[in-house]
Amino acid sequence: MRQKIQKLWQFLFGDGARAFGTLSVILLICLAIAPAKDRFREWTRYQQKYLRLIRGRGEAATLQRRFQGGLQQIWMPELGVTDRCGTCHLGLKEASLWDVSTQPFRPHPPIPHSLTEFGCVMCHRGQGAATGVEEAHRSTLAWEQPILPARYLQASCGQCHWNTLTGTPQLNLGRQLLARYDCVSCHVLKTPDGRRLEGTTDAPALTHIAEKTTREWTFAWLKNPQAYAITATMPNFQFTDADARDISAFLMSVGQASGLSPAAVPAGDAAADAQAGASVYGESFCASCHATVNAAGMLVGGDVGPELTRIGSKVKPEWLGEWLHNPKTYDPDTAMPHYRFDQKQLGPLRAFIEAKTDSDFLANVHLEPASPEQVAHGKALVTERGCASCHEINGIKKPANFAPELTVVGSESLMKIIFAPGVERTLPDYLRAKIRQPHAFPSAKMPQYTFTEAQVDALVTALLAQTERARTLPAALRVAGKRESNYRPAGKAGQLMADMNCFSCHAINGRGGNMAPDLTWEGSSVERRWLVSFMKNPNTLRPALIRRMPRFNVTDAEAETIADYILTVYQTPDFDRDAIDPAKFSAADVELGKQLFYSKYACQSCHIVDAQNDKGYIGPTLTQVGARLNAAWIFHWLKDPQALRPGTVEPNRNLSDADARALTAFLMKQNKEVAKK
């Protein structure tokens, strides 16, 4: 053995020349290691594969010309982006590779941003600087940023966009849910500009709860809110019977009657009034805001107000009568309008609503009068579970910092998180599990929500948008959300509009709901006479709509006050409402307009002018449009509808002034008023 080694040594380093030769060879090999290592890098294989892929294609020459070998890098220090993804993802910008389904060569689908402007990791996360498949895409112990799964991808849009984007329905839903389910009442969640997100549920104040409902109902509700109404936003706190008994006792003890004298509402004969009540309920379009489960088991109606399926099991009859009479007496901030029902409507309506009961719901609830210890225990529980975060309760302060802040939860380090058993070690999976089963985690105060899979996805998406990166991005990149204005109309009309809660459905000057048309420029469009009669008896303009303006029993004087206010204040600066005098239109103008209406522009596909023959019902019926709108509005509307009401379906037809004038003449002739009922 030793001899062999000696021989080899002699062979390699026996004399000066041999030693020099051997060392040179070793040196050469050492020098070759670096380029060889480079030659066999993972990404070089992908580049060769890409070249083979494009070789056989029709547009091979173009693709070949655009191919750049070697490491590709996008570097944007101000965004914290160092991306080498393009080294392997070579087809990202090649739309002609649309049929290639294998990664890493798929083209990137069209998006509103350029890839070189933002890089890849801004949206997809992962390790941009890495050049190996494992390193770049999957989390390692040192680098905690795996690729964001496609199902949460919209979270990335939310890092800069705090406004509502049409392209990100899931993110928008998630943010709505955070507010609607009052997550943000316990958790602090701030946008990068430091503004705290506010809840939108308006969980009812419990200061006068004893006036509204019974302790039995409160008990059953606390036990399982979703058993009362499947749409209930209050989560299930999984209280024991004893806990629910004590909390209900405490709430009743501090939610005493406010001393309001309930309006005398005739009780009504339930059987006889059921029909009449149902028609008041229908005529008043209660279902636009309130849902009920119908006989077929389907939930029908809007989600602005609470579900009414079992309302008769909840509210006290006197309270219901007073609420229907004028909801503002109990809750001055309610979104429910003051309908001004008369006694003939109130009795039947109350009987109809009261009859919506569920005999099973309270069948097994029997509560003894509570002892002081039970009330004290109830108070302790209410404090411990943070009820006052959402509800106003006499004697309990709204807790501060009740739950962990979620402002940067989207970039939370996995090292800091305690995972429940069986939960995949990724941030999205942690958030999912936490939302779906909060009780699986140690020391969780969080209650049990009943979200669908899609809602959980949406919530996780919205939370993942709350990243450290979002907070530190240059302010110029940030697109702020729309803030609701605090516009309040003034004077007597303003009081009336607040009383009837016009803003629950209509938006004016950036404040209000979107169920009904925006009225910001209503004063430039309508005729006073029409508006007054519409206020008194809103007849439908759009036959296909199921949500319509309900009739409030306004007096003549009230209708005129509101009409005058609207006509004076809600005027567009773009034109003068009296600029076009319809008396100056000639018969020839009207005739030309008619021809344009029916032939060239085929307006009858969407509108009805001649009730006998026209059928279109996308736009409003125009049989009396001349009595409803003024000529200047019609003319300017025809010229550019979107300028007057952004997003309206009516297309801009790029009409010449002459055509628009003729059409206006024709439409202004449609002014036959129907005899009043």
């Binding site: 049929d99 509103p112 596909s605 019902y617 379906v649 297309p651 037809r653």
Partner: protein
Amino acid sequence: MKRLISIACALTLLAGCSRPAKAPAPLAAKAFGAAITEVGGGKQVGSIGTALDQPVVVQVNDAQGSPVAGALVELHTAGGAMAVPTAGLTGADGQLTSTVTLGGRAGRYQIAATTRDKSGKPVELRLDEIALGYQQQQGRVLNDQYCARCHDPESTPERVSNHDNLTAKPHAFTEGAVLNAMSDADLAAIIGYGGPALNKSPEMPPYGYTLNKADVDALIAYIRAVADPPYRLKGLTYAKN
């Protein structure tokens, strides 16, 4: 001794670190059917990566066509799509309901629902689902806002279709047989300049002064995505892993 203890400690630590092996509950078929049919949930349109609105419901029937309870149905998905649950026994009505989440790539996803008959031979049903990417999703929003009122003949309580009120009946965007034959340029022309641009009815108004080019492109992308039969059938590839 010390060494032994430290080894034992290390082993315990390692054992603690390893994820508890999740043994999938063995699902054994209690009954066997002869056929599998779709009850609902096929041909849905959703955004990439999101759960479809309606669950996929399949039903196992015996040779006489009556439902079989307790048959094992497996749902196979590809391309990052997921079905929850991926397998299960049919209920008393012979049906299995599963929520499907689409993968990250826009296009068609195929879900194969399989069950085995008495002889152990697999019986398969394939369902197609459509995933919309960002641009198609934009198109879908525009479709709902401007087009669906006439182009979608189905009425819902929220939206009554105007389709039947028109003299020239608009094509539903799913009518691939007609729309696939139109080039992108033709679609852009009829959207931008109205029916008369292609010698069709003026009941189709021009939207070129209302929508911008990106909007029109998005609409075309949406129309291509929902076409049935699919657009560019020849090159159609289902999402794969």
